[in-house]
Subunit: 319 residues, 2 copies
């Protein structure tokens, strides 16, 4: 039976972040909230912990008998590929991720860059730097075709905004549940057909065994040479070496990359300096203390009421 | 009586542009189309001209007896403040401007810059230049308040896209006809109240006696110091000296200016180098040959059918 006030452990390697999350969760009326930012601190608190709200938690701790009271692990992020891949989490601990929280910010990021690429924002900035009156005719998103791979809460929000920009919208998804959202829907067996007509391909898929390196040379060369690739999902959706090869051969107009196979990318990584590769630092869908705490508080209420939690991870499915 | 094929004169100071417009108009089935790019050329063709499709036309020609066969002047642009101000155009020549043509491109321009300013695109670009992994939390347009001054076809399209970005939308217009589009509507007597709560103020108004220098120091200091001003209307909507003073005193987060009191702005203009002033070269709503020719061809059909033309300019109103 759940206690009316579960013992909550907030973990974040950054101790000020950990404290900020704990403080915010307390504001929702939960009083038994402790925070930890090191393996040692977490280990000491585990025996009395029922719920963990965690980021980069030392998962190996969960396999110990001292963790037997832990019933539920809430990640502060949307992507849980690392948690799914780790066998240390006992099967009787429910794993949840943040959902329905990142669509707004990630779709704003996507359209910021789509507009920048389409309308040649770089040329506009350069003209100002050179004090050059340069009244060229910018291209438009209107009438172009966008393909959204992954039609969960993030992909759906990108589709909604693409409609406001009068784009044709194609989609590829694994479940097919949201197929009616898009003008043409493709299944995972149809990647080459899916990408062939696109002006913009946006990846919002979770990283699973099925999606790992799904955007490899075969898919990339099926894209139009004038197309633009945007990745706001996970770095390893793209086989980065293939992307580098293909772009260095002059294929693709641009790539906008917010996520990478290894983050942070090192100073000597070729992405930093490739023309037409726009790099950002995994910031398109930030987990904010307020947003995560609100989601978590709502989930704790469901937990106490014995209701189904939001964002439960299906380990078989991979997210 | 109108002839079944009116004699059309296409004028543009750029002779290749003039020829491109003429060629495009001929594609719509109009055979009597001539082009000119100098005052002399235009003067020679005037006696046999019934309709002018023109940009920067030497208006002084129209006051001559030789121009007495000219019935209709179609501007290739949306803004006709220069044509309205010029007394050379006889009252019996109908003046039309392009309408319903620029909403798509101008609204894309507006949201490109709103997203750039809101999410600090400059910081993202700087991080890449410095090869710096910099995962800051970008702000959002969602939940912010945008004010659109002018609710014609351009303003309405900005309102529509602002809805897709989940913004609160205020509007100010002179006619009030589109007041229902926005959450709060203001009249021309309410500028200070209108701008007081805005995070973004976008000017799409035509330039008339009533709107000339309407955004002066009084309006600017009524804005929040964190607000952003975007001008895609006409330069002289803003009293530029006041804007410079106010921004140099640290007021306003940013100004995005596509239009200026005098264009092109000279190399030594302070706007080029002011921090937080983003300058572009009157390119947000380009008149394209295809777009203008299509609009004009539809209007010629109305002309031949004796129907009301689209985009008729009311000289009293000023646009």
């Amino acid at each position: 039976m759940n206690s009316p006030q579960p013992n909550i452990l907030v973990f974040n390697p950054d101790s000020s972040e950990a404290k900020a999350y704990a403080e915010s969760v307390r504001h929702y009326g939960f009083t038994s909230v402790k925070s930890a930012s090191t393996t040692e601190e977490a280990n000491k608190l585990l025996s009395e912990t029922e719920v963990i709200l965690g980021w980069k938690f030392p998962l190996e701790l969960l396999i110990q008998p001292v963790a037997s009271s832990v019933r539920w692990f809430q990640s502060t992020g949307a992507g849980v590929d690392d948690l799914v891949a780790d066998d240390s989490i006992p099967v009787d601990i429910t794993l949840t991720r943040i959902i329905d929280q990142f669509g707004s910010s990630i779709s704003e990021y996507v359209f910021m860059f789509l507009l920048h690429v389409a309308k040649d924002g770089s040329r506009m900035r350069r003209a100002q730097t050179e004090k050059l009156w340069d009244p060229f005719i910018p291209a438009s998103l209107a009438g172009k075709t966008i393909g959204v791979a992954g039609l969960g809460s993030i992909g759906s929000e990108i589709v909604r905004k693409a409609r406001a920009f009068d784009m044709s919208v194609y989609g590829l998804s694994y479940s097919g549940k949201q197929a009616a959202l898009v003008d043409r829907h493709f299944t995972p067996g149809q990647w080459s057909e899916f990408v062939g007509e696109l002006d913009y391909l946006v990846l919002t898929l979770p990283l699973t065994e099925a999606t790992h390196h799904i955007v490899s040379k075969k898919v990339l060369i099926s894209m139009k040479s004038t197309a633009c690739l945007v990745n706001v999902g996970r770095g390893a959706l793209i086989k980065e070496d293939d992307l580098i090869d293909v772009m260095q051969s002059g294929h693709l107009h641009a790539a906008v990359l917010d996520v990478f196979e290894n983050e942070p990318i090192p100073k000597n990584h070729v992405f930093w300096t490739m023309p037409n590769v726009l790099v950002t630092s995994h910031l398109s869908g930030p987990s904010t203390v307020d947003g995560v705490s609100h989601f978590f508080a709502e989930n704790v209420k469901r937990y106490l009421a014995g209701k189904a939690l939001a964002g439960v991870v299906d380990k078989e499915r991979g997210y």
